[in-house]
């Protein structure tokens, strides 16, 4: 088994290919370059990224690269699947909440919001002309010319899908040499069972104690992602903020959940479902997950309670759980 670790897209990246050989190693060593290219395409923090240039041309039809096209198309599909809960149109709201620079460059996450960051957020703030909820429908994609038109006043943020997409792309490339797993900051894509036929054992971190595990799951193919407010959070004017915006309010979601881990046929679906369930809260989020037999989830309440969806036991090493009292 060969592996490589590096930082990209504001997080820690791990890529594993379960085989030996020079070709697999060469492919593995190319992974950081792929992520660097994708970051230059999708990052809202990079003023020269393709996404930032698209955002500066809101109101115009812009031809984009295949990668940006694919990720924006995926983000629109994500909005459809999640009934608008996970939408790429919340950049202004994120900056308003105080998430104006990458966490990898910012001060410690639990620090007070700096005055400088507040000023930066205010100076770059654009006022959306459309309300946040549902406005993703006004994004126009022209498949024939691979062009996109974002309405005037709207700016896109691809943080909800880009990392999962990148993990999946990398796992896909690596899988040509052997079974592959790519972990992009906690969003994990698995191309297939390990070389010995066994599934990949993946831990689920305890949001209250990141060095500890809540459970372990066994994944043969697909993806797993976790959304939560335990890490990307900060104080603004004395109140805790986090990065998962509820499009109904335009503010960080008010939820009784600390984190949600979802297992899905792909890490892209897992990423979207984890965010949607987090926003919905423990009761509605669990019900929404249970309506979709392809999904399995572990939800962690702010009181420490663990909630497991119907399908979770299929993947869990240890299936002891508690039902949500109704």
């Amino acid at each position: 088994m060969q592996r490589i670790e590096f930082r990209a897209m504001g997080g820690q990246i791990l890529a594993i290919v379960d085989t030996h050989g020079e070709q697999a190693l060469d492919c593995l060593q190319a992974t950081p370059r792929w992520f660097a290219v994708w970051e230059r395409t999708f990052s809202r923090f990079d003023k020269q990224s393709e996404l930032s240039r698209l955002n500066r041309n809101a109101g115009r039809t812009v031809r984009v690269s295949p990668e940006l096209w694919e990720v924006i198309a995926e983000s629109v599909r994500a909005a459809q699947r999640s009934a608008g809960l996970v939408t790429p149109t919340l950049l202004a709201e994120l900056e308003q909440a105080g998430y104006a620079e990458s966490f990898s460059r910012s001060v410690a996450p639990e620090s007070e919001q700096s005055e400088a960051t507040d000023a930066a957020a205010s100076s770059e703030q654009h006022v959306n002309v459309l309300p946040a909820y549902g406005n993703w429908k006004s994004i126009t994609l022209y498949a024939r010319t691979r062009s996109i038109r974002v309405p005037h006043g709207m700016r896109l943020d691809l943080g909800g899908v880009a990392k999962g997409w990148a993990a999946e792309q990398a796992a896909d490339h690596l899988s040509r040499h052997g079974p592959a797993l790519v972990d992009a900051g906690g969003d994990i894509a698995v191309s297939g069972p390990r070389a010995d036929g066994s599934p990949w054992p993946i831990g689920i971190a305890n949001p209250f104690d990141p060095d500890a595990q809540l459970d372990m799951i066994l994944i043969g193919h697909g993806g797993v992602a976790t959304s939560g407010r335990d890490y990307r959070r900060w104080r603004k004017h004395g109140d805790w903020q986090h990065h998962i915006i509820d499009p109904h309010t335009g503010r960080p979601a008010t939820t009784d959940l600390v984190s949600v881990t979802v297992i899905a046929p792909s890490v892209r679906e897992a990423e979207v479902a984890a965010k949607a369930a987090f926003i919905l809260g423990s009761r509605d989020g669990l019900a929404w997950i249970d309506e979709q037999p392809a999904l399995a989830a572990l939800l962690v309440g702010e009181n420490g309670r663990l909630l497991r969806s119907r399908q979770f036991a299929r993947y869990a090493w240890s299936s002891v759980g508690y039902a949500l009292d109704t």
Binding site: P199, Q213, G222, Y315, V320
Partner: protein, 125 residues
């Protein structure tokens, strides 16, 4: 489709004895916790590393055919106390009906090796 765990094989090394356990066929308790089936949550049988339930004793067929049941317990080692108070494994014996005068056989517990996770999912960092 994502991976599944329909069957887990546990390999137990006890002086040459190997046991195959189908997870679905065994109900276990873990450390005294009972399985709890609440509103619509799935009840799952599992074999946990700390399981204290013993597999049901089955006398394997004498024809030499592979036992087709969920548990293959042949041959079963019989642990005989030594005079010093320690124990030593008896050589593997032919299956036989136990009489009341015999010491009860101590059936080796299944030992599941918990795999080390290759990575951990957590909220983005």
């Amino acid at each position: 489709m994502t991976g599944e765990r329909k069957t887990r094989k546990a390999s137990v090394g006890t002086q040459g004895t190997r046991m195959l356990i189908t997870a679905a066929a065994v109900t276990a308790t873990i450390g005294g916790w009972a399985w709890f089936a609440g509103n619509d949550t799935q009840t799952t049988v599992n074999v946990a590393p700390q399981s204290t339930n013993t597999p049901q004793l089955v006398v394997p067929p004498t024809t030499g055919e592979q036992f087709a049941g969920a548990l293959d317990l042949s041959p079963i080692p019989t642990i005989i106390p030594t005079p010093s108070g320690g124990v030593a494994n008896a050589p593997a014996a032919e299956p036989q009906t136990m009489s009341q005068s015999q010491q009860p056989a101590i059936i080796a517990q299944p030992t599941l090796v918990t795999p080390a996770p290759v990575t951990t999912t957590r909220s983005s960092r």
